[in-house]
C-alpha cells in the first residue's frame, strides 16, 4: 500500500510540474535568430536544400560524429554480451511459399529505396540515418523468412569499418583543403537542387547510411543466436 501511495505521488508531482508548461505555452510566430541565420545563409554557404541535413552534417557535424560513436559502442556492447553463452538450436521451420516469393520481390525494392533516401539526403527529407534503417529493415525481412540464411560476417565488418574510417578521413581532409574539420566545401558546391551539389554532403551522408545499416544488420545477426 505504501508503494502505491509513493507511485501516485510521483505521478502527481510530474503532472504538477508539466501543467504550467502545457497551459501557458504559446507557439512562437517568428523564427529564433539562429534559425533565421540558417534559413538566410544556409543554401548559399552549404549548398544543400534540406536545412536539417545542412545543420546535421556541417554546422553540427561534430555532434553527428559523436552519435556514430554511440551507435558503434552500443553494437560492440551487444555483441560482447550476446557472444558468451551457448547458442540454442531451436526448430527452424521453413516459411510458406507466399512469404518466400514476396521477399524475393520486396528485398531489392526495399534496398533500392533505402539507398535512394540517403543519396538524396540534401534535397528531400531523409538522410543517412533514415536510409540505413530502411536497409536494415529489408535484411530483417529476409532473415525472418529464411531463418537458416547466413549473412557474411566479414563483409559487414569491412563495410562498417571503411564507412567509419572514411567519415573521419573526409573530416580531416576538410582541415587541409578547406575551412576546418568536417567542412563540406572540399568538393565544389555546385548549383543547389542538383544531385551532385552541396560539396561533400552526399558522400558523407552515404557513408553514414552504410555504417548505420551495417551496424543494425550486425545487431540483428547477434540477436539471431
Amino acid at each position: 500500500m505504501g508503494k502505491r501511495i509513493i507511485i501516485s505521488l510521483t505521478l502527481a508531482l510530474f503532472l504538477y510540474i508539466s501543467l504550467p508548461f502545457v497551459m501557458d505555452f504559446t507557439p512562437a510566430d517568428k523564427l529564433a535568430p539562429l534559425s533565421e541565420q540558417y534559413a538566410r545563409d544556409g543554401v548559399r554557404e552549404v549548398g544543400a536544400q534540406n536545412l536539417v541535413t545542412a545543420v546535421i552534417v556541417t554546422y553540427r557535424g561534430l555532434d553527428t560524429l559523436g552519435e556514430i560513436a554511440v551507435l558503434f559502442i552500443a553494437t560492440a556492447g551487444i555483441g560482447f554480451i550476446l557472444s558468451r553463452g551457448n547458442t540454442t538450436k531451436g526448430q527452424k521451420r521453413e516459411s510458406s511459399r507466399i512469404l518466400q516469393t514476396g521477399v524475393r520481390v520486396l528485398l531489392p525494392l526495399i534496398l533500392m529505396f533505402g539507398v535512394y533516401i540517403f543519396i538524396n539526403g540534401h534535397l528531400t527529407p531523409g538522410g543517412g540515418f533514415q536510409g540505413g534503417v530502411v536497409i536494415a529493415t529489408g535484411i530483417l525481412v529476409f532473415l525472418l523468412v529464411h531463418p537458416r540464411g547466413k549473412i557474411h560476417s566479414l563483409i559487414l565488418q569491412v563495410l562498417e569499418s571503411i564507412s567509419g574510417f572514411g567519415y573521419v578521413f573526409l573530416g580531416l581532409l576538410g582541415i587541409f583543403l578547406a575551412g576546418g574539420f568536417l567542412d563540406n566545401s572540399i568538393l565544389p558546391l555546385g548549383q543547389a537542387g542538383q544531385l551532385f551539389s552541396a560539396g561533400a554532403i552526399p558522400i558523407i551522408y552515404s557513408l553514414i547510411g552504410l555504417k548505420v545499416g551495417s551496424e543494425l544488420v550486425n545487431i540483428i545477426k547477434y540477436l539471431k543466436q
Binding site: F14, I56, I81, G85, A192
Partner: protein, 117 residues
C-alpha cells in the same frame, strides 16, 4: 493549449507509470520507449510555427524570403540525434533482458533480487 505538447506529456506520464508499476521486464522496456517517444514529440512541437511549411528550400518556398516561410529546423536536428540514442539504449536494455532470461528462465523482475540491499 497546444494539443501535441499535451499528448507528449501524457505519453511521458504513461511511460513513467508503466516503468514503476509493471513486473514484467519487457513491459518496463516498453515504458522506457514510451517516455522516449513522448519527449521527442514535445521537442518537435516546440519548433512549430503556425501556417508554415517544412524547412526544405525548393520550388515551394520563396528563397529570398525563406525565413518567413519555414518551420524551425533546429528541434528536428536535436530529435534526430535523440532518436538514434534512444534506439541504442533500448537495444542494450533488451539484450540485458535476454541474457537474464537465459540465466533464470523468468521474466518477472522480482526474481532477480540479488543486487538489492
Amino acid at each position: 493549449m497546444q494539443l501535441v505538447t499535451a499528448l507528449g506529456f501524457i505519453l511521458v506520464i504513461i511511460g513513467i507509470w508503466g516503468m514503476l508499476t509493471r513486473k514484467n521486464m519487457i513491459k518496463i522496456v516498453i515504458g522506457f520507449s514510451l517516455i522516449d517517444t513522448g519527449i521527442h514529440i514535445i521537442m518537435v512541437s516546440i519548433g512549430y510555427i503556425k501556417g508554415r511549411t517544412a524547412p526544405i528550400i525548393n520550388e515551394a518556398v520563396d528563397r529570398t524570403n525563406a525565413a518567413m516561410e519555414i518551420v524551425d529546423p533546429i528541434p528536428s536536428v536535436l530529435v534526430l540525434t535523440a532518436i538514434v540514442i534512444g534506439l541504442a539504449v533500448t537495444a542494450l536494455m533488451l539484450v540485458y533482458v535476454t541474457r537474464l532470461y537465459k540465466h533464470k528462465n523468468s521474466l518477472n523482475i522480482d526474481d532477480y533480487g540479488e543486487l538489492k540491499w
